[in-house]
Symmetry: C2
Subunit: 201 residues, 2 copies
Amino acid sequence: MTSYKLTYFDIKGLGEPIRMLLSILGKDFEDNRIPMASWSSRKSEIKWGRVPVLEIDGKEMYQSQAIMRYLAKQAKLAGDNDWEAYEIDSAAGTIADLISLYIPIWTLDGKSKEEFKQKLLNEYIPSFMKNWNEQAENSGFLANGKLSWADLMLYGFLETLEGKLETEIVNEYPNLKLGTEKLRATPGIKEWLAKRPNTPW
Amino acid sequence: MTSYKLTYFDIKGLGEPIRMLLSILGKDFEDNRIPMASWSSRKSEIKWGRVPVLEIDGKEMYQSQAIMRYLAKQAKLAGDNDWEAYEIDSAAGTIADLISLYIPIWTLDGKSKEEFKQKLLNEYIPSFMKNWNEQAENSGFLANGKLSWADLMLYGFLETLEGKLETEIVNEYPNLKLGTEKLRATPGIKEWLAKRPNTPW
């Protein structure tokens, strides 16, 4: 039997869409979670110094979006033709852009953290969420009017973002809220959400 | 006839692989270049506030990697199966990681710019180049032993990096140097390189 091992932080973030995809595919996997606090000492053990890393029968895969896209093709969540695949890739790229903007939240503290948090909440996040909410009109999903791995990526990130910022975000955007509800009820994802470890973000 | 318009800065960077792909595909395109100096006033005109944007018959495409992957599928430079496509996507993701690390070079100046440049040259760049050079053993290419859009992405970025840092980088890495030479001789790319505008980076 093929073995799967996912190494990521003990958070949702960019690991969660991969965990959801593996669950959709019915694959048992080792959910190897590195505590954030020990990352600086563990980083050098990992090629490229980044997680997530997915091992399939011991063969290491790098780069979250590349891993998601690969698994999503097996799960039929990567588009039915080249244009649909582009729409999903493009949506995923915009999510990665907002992720790169929010990263400093993990290292700032005190007044500078609070100022950065306000910039995120009042400027960065609304500008992206507004566009995504428009894209998700009718279906609730970011691309092609149907569930794709980009929705899983957004969901994992927003869960972490809401936990980290201690605020609700998605509920202000009705189309994205609808998509979230449909995603949570999807076979494979539903079971994963019921059994996954409880983490604050 | 289908019309193509690429909007990007007046540099190579993430625009150049798209220009090369269009040239490989034999597509004439409008090469719309925004001077860096006018970006701050132009940014708000563009959805997501980012370039490159490719318009195909007026329909806008966003996100450099999504655009490259879409064109590369047409040019048969995106892998012959899902695993090959993953290998290319993963390589492209690592290039994007180094790009995100080097971005501050455009806004720093004086002593802090010089310090950052040293960190790039002595730490960030060698760590990525060493891994890429290993991946490119024998063929000179990053993935699957053959030319892919990830090689085009690396080539465009390294041209900009070498120009901006005023130093040679790729020549120290023999496998990548070989790949660069093969890439420059590829039909479609060769013609583009001969006729493209002369920019310092």
